[in-house]
Subunit: 301 residues, 2 copies
């Protein structure tokens, strides 16, 4: 497994020599495994590791988990940074938890002068994300192996490793971890996907995780291509978007441009079908917003 992780790290150029890396550890199997593996590779990769843990204080076990990660970091000789959630919102708790957690990680990485954040997401997480999007009728996208946020590289060295491999690794090395309480996730759908949909799909394709991630990679790459082409296409009109220019583009590209303006699939279809109409038209985008023809322009309000 370690060899596979090295391959992933190389493929995505996740680390550079002398990088200071902040490893984010919840205490669950994935992040504990990540910390152990990066620890075993720290000389090879020539990276310097620190550990961050965000205590959401949402469950009875929260403080025990913080203590577990603190003790683990001490054992391995890594600096440990933690913070707890002070002001919890009444709604959107999962989304907000994610937001404050990431903002703590980004703040910490800057404070300690580190260059990278490492997270423990695995192949199953990515495949589940792909399905999650498909089920909602959205573009199949997975979890990004490496991306930049606020000038910080966020990397996921376990993104090509199956959950089962991680569990085996932990067992083989007798590594302790906290039991994963996933109640920070949008439980119902995620758990259904994990426990019912994916096992069913696995019967039809034993390599379903990689199949889903493959579908996503092709789609993500094409989205990136559309982004670039959309940037290059100048569709500015007298008022808003020039209808003539929009019509001259391939529908995939004009759809992508409209999507970036915040329209959903059926609104895009409706606007595209209107482009050839000379008379006045208006499409309701919801929330008091409209797309309408004004002269030769498409104006969004």
């Amino acid at each position: 497994m370690v060899k596979k992780v090295i391959k992933t790290i190389r493929r995505y150029s996740m680390f550079e020599r002398k990088d200071k890396v902040l490893v984010c550890v919840s205490g669950g199997p994935d992040s504990v495994c990540l910390l152990h593996i990066l620890n075993s590779l720290k000389e090879y990769l020539r990276i310097k590791i620190s550990v961050a843990h965000f205590n959401h204080k949402l469950r009875r076990e929260s403080d025990a988990e913080e203590n577990f990660v603190r003790a683990l970091s001490k054992d391995l000789g890594f600096a440990f940074y933690t913070e707890y959630w002070k002001e919890k919102p009444s709604a959107n708790i999962q989304k907000e938890a994610r937001r404050v957690r990431y903002s703590f990680f980004l703040k910490t990485v800057k404070e300690i002068g580190a260059e990278r954040i490492a997270l423990g997401h695995n192949l199953n997480d990515s495949a589940e994300t792909v399905l999650f999007h498909i089920i909602r009728g959205e573009r199949p996208v997975g979890i990004c192996p490496k991306r930049e946020e606020e000038g910080v590289q966020i990397v996921r060295p376990l993104i090509e490793i199956e959950r089962a491999e991680i569990e085996e690794y932990l067992k083989a090395y007798g590594i302790d971890y906290c039991i994963d309480h996933t109640n920070l996730e949008p439980l119902y759908t995620r758990n259904k996907i994990r426990l019912e949909v994916l096992p069913e799909l696995e019967k039809l394709n034993p390599d379903i995780l990689r199949a889903l991630v493959k579908v996503a990679k092709v789609s993500e790459r094409e989205r990136d291509f559309l982004h670039r082409e959309a940037e290059r296409a100048d569709v500015k009109g007298e008022k808003g978007i020039s209808i003539e220019k929009l019509k001259s583009l391939h529908p995939a590209l004009s759809a992508h441009i409209l999507k970036r303006e915040g329209m959903n699939f059926s609104q895009i279809e409706e606007v595209l079908s209107m482009l050839n109409k000379k008379r006045f038209w208006k499409v309701d985008l919801g929330n008091g917003r409209f797309a309408q023809r004004e002269g030769n322009s498409l104006v969004l309000s």
Copy 2:
């Protein structure tokens, strides 16, 4: 439901006035429903209907089904064309059945001087096809509402109608049909998708059929865009494909070009990762085929 069918017919310009339409009827619920609906719309659409039935002679019920469709056509006053499968192959029976069936339909449509072939596929068929591809790690594509083959337009007026709506319609009008024996389909996977995967997904999104078809539509449109851009991109090199030209393209586009050369996902990834290497390299494409560097060209053999 008839209104929805009219909407679909309009959206895809499926028929023109005075079209002669060959409706392909297996005797199952979908095609029988299609025939009844087109019959009720024939004056409105100003189309002339004939019926074709291909008898695979693969099951006990095959002849009874042929007779059923013949009698139905006679009742409705439509010309009826049929043929049976004489020389059956020993392998690939499902794929071959499809091939001979379509070739009979295409032959018949030309013989009788008709312009269109109408088929009974519904929204569920399309959504199942999307899932079928995703499970295999392929681009999410559904069933085409309208496409041309050998100069003949093949249209599917029920493609936006759910299977349940078709069943309701048949029940409401007391229309007889043959029970659908799906043993001409690649049974295991299709049935699993239909009976186990889709109902599970429907719990997560009641509108799952349309969600899947939406994912496919976006992807199909983007594939079409890539096709066009690939045509425009001149990548011809001294020997095969110019490595410099291929490298200058966006990876989505170069991947698409390599896909059209018959490579699969991992082969494409490997070749793309090789493009920057100056030394000689060779990628095994299987079946004795190779992709390799020759000077500044990528040569496929």
